[in-house]
Subunit: 102 residues, 2 copies
């Protein structure tokens, strides 16, 4: 379990460790599901770049998608954020405990 969980946490941190992706998470953090096109409006990168980032975020479990007609809406998955938060919380209290808490 610990190995699997640890990898998941790494993926989450990796996903958050990019400015563009963190900005996407921020926009989705408002609570409204958005399409890749909607997110790329106002962003300084292409829609395809945003799409790639959304894939990374989804692979990390931070985001889920839902087909809504012809567009695909992405929403934030708060659970994973919480997991990462708890993980960080535990590190200062000892590594093993950090993993056990999950």
């Amino acid at each position: 379990m610990s190995k699997t969980t640890e990898r998941a946490v790494v993926d989450v941190f990796f996903a958050l460790g990019d400015g563009t992706r963190l900005a996407v998470v921020g926009r989705l953090g408002a609570g409204v599901a958005l399409s890749a096109t909607a997110i790329s409006d106002g962003a300084h990168v292409t829609r395809q770049a945003i799409a790639k980032h959304l894939r990374v975020l989804e692979d990390a479990g931070l985001v889920t998608h839902e087909k809504r007609g012809r567009e695909v809406l992405y929403a934030l998955e708060a659970r994973r954020l919480e997991e990462a938060r708890v993980f960080l919380d535990g590190i200062s209290a000892g590594w093993d405990r950090a993993i056990d808490r999950l």
Copy 2:
């Protein structure tokens, strides 16, 4: 402020988004300051690889170093972890609030 802080948070997440680095943080999380050589003992990578990772961690503010005779000891900086934790904590409650909390 928000821009600067946001970048710092990205750096922290980026630093944690690598398995080797997360393992290093884990070992330092025990509370004992260790040298790069000590950390690389038992790790599956070279001392120089660990040294590079320690530099990344230090640039992110997650680690501090102290010259101790001929060796250099690295210790975990819990404050940055806490910052990242608080940041994550705030995202689900809204992006702006997340930045303000720092």
